[in-house]
Subunit: 161 residues, 2 copies
Amino acid sequence: MTTALPPGEDTPFASVGFLLSQLGHYTSRRFTARLAELKIDPRQFAMLRHIEAQQGRSQQAIGQALQIPPSRMVVLVDDLEGRGLVERRVDPHDRRIKGVHLTPAGRELLQSALAIAKAHEADVCTELSATERDALMALLDRVARSHGLLSGVHPGLREDC
Amino acid sequence: MTTALPPGEDTPFASVGFLLSQLGHYTSRRFTARLAELKIDPRQFAMLRHIEAQQGRSQQAIGQALQIPPSRMVVLVDDLEGRGLVERRVDPHDRRIKGVHLTPAGRELLQSALAIAKAHEADVCTELSATERDALMALLDRVARSHGLLSGVHPGLREDC
DNA sequence: TATTGTTATACTCTATAACTATA
DNA sequence: TATAGTTATAGAGTATAACAATA
């Protein structure tokens, strides 16, 4: 949830942990707000990207890769399918499995979402030079790896956001 | 076709925004878990620190500083008061106001919480040298400031987690 | 009439587990 | 019997707004 440290302006306790929590919350809120223009949330964005890369995978396979439980996958895919962005196709070899595929409309929306992600990234780093941004990314990446975080898998997809 | 950046392990979607969101979520979850030993959450930790710094402020004043709405303040203070960590005293000049004060037990618990925060910070930065940590903090601080984030005020206290 | 703290209500989000249809 | 997907339910956490006491 939240890490909060010192309240007022009197005790500016500076810690990497607090800054990460504070910035992480802020940036993900901003990103969520931006994606809302397309009426998708970050989870669905992650799903669309995953589906594009590996079309036809089952809901469970996608959910496992992204750490999204099955019952939530249903709702998310329902929404995307209802808007014609994605379609479920029954696997002819195993009729229990429904592969999820991107439609042309879904592909198009994904492009818009990627453009939004790009703009968001530029906005987040607006104050940094290119080399500073690289340095920051390298440091963050090392911290993330040292804690076993998988690149591209957001721990929040599993529970809250 | 596309610059596919799938979420799997194949194409690491590297962006400062995603790393911040990912790490922020991870570290705040860890911190929350650590504080649970003391049966307080990060919000209450922030409150205790605030109260220590400025004893006797009204619930609303504290809530405003920390961006916690009044109705939630009630529950949080109830809990702390029920455990003897904090006490409410009616303001003799304005009987509507209840100043919140730290008890000796609360002061003691706050010390333990601060020790936990320190250990948490060391854990987060375990992979970094002292200079690297300083560099990371400086970069994060600049990014935070460029977006108008107040030091010590976590945006998550106001709403979700 | 406005303000502090409180309580009550409703809403959103979530996991859990029961259920179906296939295998 | 086990598995993919679905549905139903209940729980946690939240904001909103109504409320009582005081100013």
